[in-house]
C-alpha cells in the first residue's frame, strides 16, 4: 500500500526473528544465568536510552535526572505488585502514568531553563526523588525494597522495548517530533514557525519520563530487591553516555549505545576500576574524534546501503 507500512512490516519481521533466536538460546539454556540477565538489562537500557534521547537528542533539552524517573517507576511497580498483588501489566502501565505525571509536573517549571542550568536542575530533581524515596519507610527506605516478584522475563522486556521503540519512532516522525527537532535546532525560529515550544518540551519530557518509569518497573521485577542507590545521578550519566555515544537524535544510535555499553560493562565486570578508567578514556576519545556519536542523527534505515531496498520516494 505504501512505503511506510512496508517498512513497518519489515521491522516487525526482523524483530520477531531476533526474538525467536534469542528466546531459543535462552530456553535451551545455551546462555548462562549471567548473560540471561544481561540480555534483559540490555532491553531495559535501550528503553532508558531511547526515552532519554527523545528529551536530550531530539528536543535538545539537557536532562540529567533520568534515573529519578526510573526510580519512580521501579517503586510504583514494586508497591503495586507486592502490596496490592496487581497483574504485571497494571504495574507497568501505572509506572508509566506515575512517572509521566511527575515528569510533567517537574517539566512545566524547569523547561523554562536552558542548557547547563536545566542539566543541573534535573540532576538535582533526580537526586531529590531518590532521597525522598530513601526516607519513606513504606518502601524500605535506605535498606531497599525487598521481595519483588520476578515478573520480568525476556519476552516482557523485549516486547515492551519494541513497543517503546515503535512509539518513539513514530512520534519523532510526526509533526510532534518535527516540533521537537525544530526546538533543538533553533528555539526562536521554531517559535516563529508557530511551534508552541513550551508545550512540546514538556510533552517530550513527560513521555521520556513515563518510559523511564516503565523501564524502572521492568528493572524492579528483574531482581528481588531494589535500592535507592541504583538510581543516583551517576546512573543518569550512564544513560546520557549511551545516548551521546550512539548519537543524539538517532534511535538506532541509542539502541547501539545501550547495547555496547551494557555488554562491555558486563564483560569487564570482574575488573571494576579498570573498567571505569577505560570507559572514561573511551568517552573522552569519542568526544575528541567523533563528538556526534557513532550514528550522528542518522538512522540505520536511511544509510545509503539500505536505501536501495526501500521503496521510498527519495530522489
Amino acid at each position: 500500500m505504501n512505503a511506510l507500512r512496508k517498512a513497518d512490516l519489515k521491522a516487525i519481521i526482523i524483530s520477531l526473528v531476533v526474538f525467536v533466536v534469542l528466546q531459543a538460546l535462552l530456553s535451551t539454556n545455551s546462555l548462562d544465568a549471567f548473560w540471561q540477565l544481561n540480555i534483559i538489562l540490555i532491553c531495559i537500557n535501550i528503553i532508558l536510552s531511547v526515552s532519554l534521547n527523545l528529551i536530550n537528542g531530539y528536543t535538545g533539552q539537557f536532562s540529567l535526572g533520568h534515573a529519578g524517573f526510573m526510580a519512580i517507576g521501579a517503586y510504583t511497580g514494586a508497591v503495586l505488585s507486592v502490596n496490592f498483588h496487581m497483574p504485571f501489566i497494571v504495574s507497568l502501565i501505572t509506572s508509566f502514568v506515575t512517572a509521566a505525571i511527575i515528569g510533567g509536573l517537574i517539566g512545566l517549571p524547569t523547561m523554562r531553563l536552558s542548557g547547563d542550568y536545566l542539566a543541573i536542575a534535573t540532576l538535582g530533581l533526580g537526586e531529590i526523588i531518590r532521597i525522598v524515596i530513601m526516607n519513606v519507610n513504606y518502601v524500605g527506605g535506605a535498606a531497599g525494597f525487598m521481595g519483588i516478584p520476578r515478573h520480568t522475563n525476556f519476552a516482557w522486556a523485549f516486547f515492551v522495548m519494541l513497543f517503546v521503540l515503535f512509539f518513539i519512532k513514530n512520534y519523532v516522525n510526526s509533526s510532534y517530533g518535527r516540533a521537537c527537532v525544530a526546538i533543538r535546532e533553533n528555539e526562536i525560529a521554531a517559535e516563529a514557525m508557530g511551534v508552541n515550544t513550551t508545550k512540546y518540551k514538556v510533552l517530550a519530557f513527560t513521555i521520556g519520563a513515563g518510559f523511564a518509569g516503565v523501564a524502572g518497573c521492568l528493572f524492579a521485577h528483574t531482581f528481588y530487591i531494589i535500592h535507592p542507590s541504583s538510581f543516583t545521578f551517576l546512573a543518569s550519566f550512564n544513560y546520557l553516555i549511551m545516548v551521546v555515544m550512539g548519537g543524539m537524535g538517532s534511535i538506532t544510535g541509542s539502541i547501539a549505545g545501550a547495547f555496547i555499553l551494557t555488554t562491555v560493562s558486563a564483560l569487564l565486570s570482574n575488573w571494576p576500576e579498570l573498567r571505569m578508567s577505560i570507559y572514561a578514556l573511551i568517552l573522552i576519545a569519542l568526544m575528541f574524534y567523533r563528538p556526534q556519536g557513532l550514528f550522528g542523527n542518522i538512522e540505520i534505515t536511511s544509510l545509503p546501503v539500505l536505501k536501495r531496498f526501500k521503496g521510498g520516494k527519495q530522489k
Binding site: N2, L4, R5, D8, F166, F167, N170, Y171, S174, S175, Y176, R178, A179, V181, A182, E185, N186, I188, A189, A190, E191, A192, M193, G194, V195, N196, T197, G249, N297, Q314, K315
Partner: protein, 255 residues
C-alpha cells in the same frame, strides 16, 4: 485599501534605554513597505515587537484590527505574521524539505494517538505537506536540494529557504529582516524579482528591513526611516532619497 498591521505609539524600554519610542506604522493589505535606518536604530527591535518576541512597554500593535498584546510568537505566527531573521536561523542540521515541513506545523491537526499509530488523518496530512513542501521548494528553485542538509546549502540558497519556510506558515504579512545581507549583486537582483513576485502570487503584504539601498529603493512602495528608535521620515522612495534628514542620518552631519 484596508489596514493589515497597525502599530500605535509603540515604545519599548530595555532597562532605562528606549530602544523604540513612539513608533507609528501602518501596512495596508498587499503593500510592500521598507524599514530602513542606521545601525542600532531599532529596526530589528520593531520586528521583535511585531512578532511577539518582545512585548511593547506602551502602545498597541494590531493585526486586522485585533490586538496582538500578550501573545507568544507562536500564536502570532498562527494569526498570520511570518518572518525571516537577520542572521539566518534555519534548522541547520535538518534537510531542506524538513525545514519547510516544520513550518506547516500549525496546519496539521492529527492527534498524538493518530501520529503514533499512523492512521487516518496522519497519513493524509503528512502526504499533503510533503507534496505542498516540494511544490513550494520548486518555486524557490530548491526542489533538487530537498534532501540536502540545510547548513550545506550555499548562502543565497539558505536565504531563499528561509523565505520559503516563512511562506509555508501561510502568512498574511511577511517580515523580511535584511534578506539581501551577504548576497552578491546578481543574487540581490534575483531576490528583488522574487520578492515582488511572492507578494503578488501569495497575495500578501511585505515589510522589509534592508541595508542594500538599491533593493529598498527599487521595490518598496513606501519607506519608513528609523533613527534612534524614532521614525524620522516616511514616504515614497524618491522623497526619501532627497530628504535632508535621511541624508544626515546616513552620511552624518558636519559636511
Amino acid at each position: 485599501m484596508s489596514v493589515l498591521l497597525e502599530a500605535k505609539n509603540v515604545s519599548k524600554m530595555f532597562g532605562g534605554l528606549k530602544a523604540v519610542s513612539n513608533f507609528n506604522m501602518t501596512i495596508d493589505k498587499g503593500e510592500l513597505v521598507g524599514l530602513i535606518g542606521p545601525n542600532g536604530a531599532g529596526k530589528t527591535t520593531a520586528f521583535n515587537l511585531f512578532t511577539g518576541v518582545y512585548q511593547p512597554t506602551t502602545g498597541i500593535i494590531s493585526l486586522d484590527g485585533q490586538s496582538l498584546a500578550g501573545m507568544k510568537p507562536s500564536q502570532i505566527t498562527q494569526r498570520g505574521i511570518a518572518r525571516t531573521f537577520q542572521n539566518i536561523r534555519l534548522f541547520s542540521e535538518l534537510t531542506v524539505l524538513d525545514n519547510v515541513k516544520i513550518a506547516y506545523h500549525t496546519h496539521l491537526n492529527y492527534n498524538l494517538i493518530e501520529a503514533v499509530l499512523r492512521v487516518g488523518r496522519y497519513m493524509k496530512q503528512e502526504r499533503e505537506i510533503e507534496d505542498n513542501g516540494r511544490e513550494l521548494l520548486k518555486i524557490f528553485k530548491l526542489e533538487d536540494k530537498a534532501g540536502e542538509i540545510a547548513k550545506n546549502l550555499p548562502y543565497g540558497a539558505q536565504r531563499r529557504l528561509e523565505i520559503a519556510r516563512a511562506l509555508a506558515t501561510r502568512p498574511q504579512l511577511l517580515l523580511l529582516d535584511e534578506p539581501a545581507a551577504g548576497m552578491n549583486p546578481q543574487e540581490t537582483k534575483e531576490l528583488m524579482d522574487m520578492i515582488r513576485w511572492i507578494r503578488k502570487d501569495f497575495a500578501l503584504s511585505i515589510l522589509l528591513i534592508e541595508h542594500d539601498m538599491s533593493l529598498v529603493m527599487g521595490i518598496c512602495e513606501r519607506i519608513y526611516v528609523l533613527e534612534y528608535g524614532s521614525i524620522i521620515a516616511q514616504g515614497i522612495p524618491d522623497e526619501i532619497k532627497k530628504n535632508p534628514e535621511v541624508i544626515r542620518a546616513y552620511l552624518g552631519g558636519e559636511a
